[in-house]
């Protein structure tokens, strides 16, 4: 890729980085060396943040961006810029009509599909007043050849576990994005089983965040059929239920959190929404799921390298900032896609 191509591929952007650690003089230095329009630094707080990263050259030999080359003349530490949450692109709530709800989300070249299917089932004996939700992720060989056969199993498992942890809350159900009680039809007898399936179609880093976004979009697109319960059943009998084909109840998704993964590269900086190129250099990554109120609903860490506790605390606060932006962006994209779908139907 030539530097011009790079440049045109680098849109507005960016976020994250340790804004607190950057001191004034560094800022001036940056201005001197960055004659490109998309390189710069703004303070945290005006809505658009620039991603700022410092590469120690001995730390990171592959110079990814032309900016870095400019800067490498300095002989050390520098700063490059990029891609802020690559916006979940306006793609699209798709009617894969066999499912109750579905969505496709693209972030850069990462593309995932989520589908939601509701089936009638029996609640478990330990939680009679609640429905059940299961989340599975499948990595398709279309995304990468190594996923053929059982090759994608490990990643699928890791992603499913992380999503379950981020979206379903604690054992008592507190903090879950999906209100399980709303899935109950007759206490202890009938409930909805919600099957959420994620599919990774194309992979260019940050799959977990994309899956989280797709699931949120798919849920907001989900219609659960209205159920009429035949009256006058005795307590022991399995009640008869009549599932309506026409009336659907909209699923409430305001509580569903978004997931933000911060990837730590090199010694000092972390990036939101890393591409696979950047993930290849990662030492560890922390995924935080944050809901509308700004509470943390789940957290997982990837990568074996240890982190200082203060770094984790710092990453959590950065993730919270990024999540606000992502949440707003996602909400407006979902609204736009829904409007489009209505137009076409």
């Amino acid at each position: 890729m030539t530097s011009e191509e790079r440049e045109s591929n680098c849109p507005t952007i960016v976020s994250v980085g340790d804004h607190r650690r950057i001191k004034q003089p560094r800022r001036r230095e940056l201005a001197m060396f960055t004659d490109r329009p998309w390189v710069g630094l703004r303070t945290f707080g005006d809505g658009v943040y620039w991603t700022v990263r410092r590469w120690c050259l001995q730390d990171h030999k592959a110079l990814m961006y032309s900016v870095n080359q400019t800067v490498s003349l300095l002989g050390q530490v520098i700063i490059s810029v990029r891609v802020a949450p690559r916006n979940p692109s306006s793609d699209v709530i798709l009617p894969y009509s066999k499912a109750n709800g579905s969505a496709r989300v693209k972030m850069g070249r990462t593309e995932v599909i989520a589908s939601v299917k509701a089936e009638l089932g029996r609640p478990s004996s330990s939680a009679p007043g609640k429905g059940k939700v299961s989340i599975f992720v499948d990595c398709s060989p279309t995304a990468a050849p190594q996923f053929e056969g059982r090759g994608g199993e490990e990643l699928s498992m890791e992603l499913s576990a992380a999503l379950r942890q981020c979206l379903l809350g604690g054992k008592s159900g507190a903090g879950g994005g999906i209100n399980l009680s709303s899935l109950s039809i007759v206490d202890g007898k009938v409930c909805w089983d919600l099957y959420i399936d994620g599919l990774v179609v194309s992979m260019d880093g940050n799959v977990l965040d994309a899956l989280g976004a797709a699931i949120k979009a798919a849920l907001s697109n989900t219609g659960i059929p209205k159920v009429n319960i035949a009256s006058a059943t005795t307590p022991d009998e399995q009640p008869e239920v009549d599932v309506s084909d026409e009336e659907f109840l909209q699923f409430d998704t305001t509580a569903v959190p978004v997931i933000v993964t911060l990837t730590k590269v090199g010694r000092h900086y972390y990036i939101a929404d890393a591409t696979s190129e950047e993930e290849s250099q990662m030492s560890s990554a922390v995924s935080v799921s944050v809901n509308q109120q700004g509470s943390i609903c789940g957290l997982t860490k990837r990568g074996g390298a240890g982190l200082d506790p203060s770094v984790i605390v710092d990453m959590i606060s950065v993730a919270k900032h990024v999540s606000e932006e992502l949440m707003n962006k996602l909400d407006s994209e979902i609204a736009a896609a829904e409007a489009m779908e209505e137009d076409s139907s």
Binding site: S126, E154, M157, E158, A161, Q165, L168, G169, G170, K171, S172, A174, G175, S284, V286, N291, S295, I296, C297, G298, L299, T300, K301, R302, G303, G304, A305, G306, L307, D308, P309, I312, V313, I316, S317, K320
Partner: protein, 258 residues
């Protein structure tokens, strides 16, 4: 192998005022009436009993008993990687956790062994110097004899002890502790009964002497200050657990010399 038999320091607790049970409760716990099923303080861990050398055939092994949670971990290797594996200039770590059929109240209740195994792998790999055994594999086999809550943290701590017993080079021991959030209270080292009612859980595994976190998982809804509080609690408990693990290793080394 009962906990009471241990002459080693039996309890550890992260809060500085552990001995005085009454004063231990900070004003944060508005729900004072609530008592833990086993009568511990909110910030008091279960007695830890640790022994190395539980299995003779293994290159290293350890047994851990935290209250009712009983775990055996054995280490095999480093030995030749399977033929199908590609060449690797760093060593591989293969973790496998299994439950006995009688570990849980309902027979064979635990189904998600793979998930627990991968969590164990993620927690340990950062502590082991994999470059010291290229081309080979170290197997970590954990068996949960009885599940009494906090299984994963106990497995992790026990596995790192077994690794040390096997003489695998590590940067530090790995200590793991989890905290449950029940209502407004933070409860350290929960038993299964508490885990079933928890609103949220935070588990930290760390290298106590390096003060590094190798794995952190959070479930449920948490505010940032609460996360800070829980993490501090965990880290403190980890460093104390680390000391107990260290003394256990020293003890076994000195007895083997005699």
């Amino acid at each position: 192998m009962a906990a009471k038999a241990g002459t080693t320091p039996a309890t550890y607790s992260p809060s500085p005022t552990t001995n005085n049970k009454k004063k231990n409760r900070t004003p944060l716990f508005s729900d004072v009436d609530w008592v833990r099923p086993d009568g511990r303080d909110f910030h008091q861990c279960r007695p830890a009993f640790l022994r190395t050398g539980a299995v003779n055939a293994a290159s290293g092994s350890a047994y851990a008993e935290f209250g009712n949670t009983k775990v055996i971990v054995s280490i095999f290797g480093p030995r030749e990687s399977k033929k199908a594996m590609m060449y690797s200039d760093i060593g591989r770590l293969n973790c496998n956790v299994s439950y006995t059929t009688f570990a849980t109240p309902v027979r064979s209740q635990v189904s998600d062994n793979k998930d627990i195994s991968s969590q164990l792998h993620k927690s340990l790999e950062g502590a082991i110097m994999l470059n010291t055994f290229p081309k080979t594999t170290v197997d970590v086999f954990a068996l949960v004899l009885e599940s009494g809550g906090c299984d994963l943290p106990v497995i992790i701590s026990c596995a790192s002890l077994a690794l040390a017993d096997a003489g695998i080079m590590m940067y530090d021991l790995v200590a793991a502790v989890s905290v449950s959030c029940i209502g407004k209270n933070l409860v350290i080292d929960p038993i299964s009964e508490e885990e079933n009612h928890q609103d949220g859980n935070l588990m930290t595994t760390c290298l106590p002497s390096r003060n590094e976190v190798t794995q952190l998982t959070i479930t449920g809804e948490w505010s940032t200050p609460k996360i800070h509080e829980a993490m501090e609690l965990c880290l403190d408990a980890c460093s104390k657990l680390g000391k107990i693990m260290r003394s256990c290793l020293k003890e076994s080394a000195s007895t083997s010399q005699e």
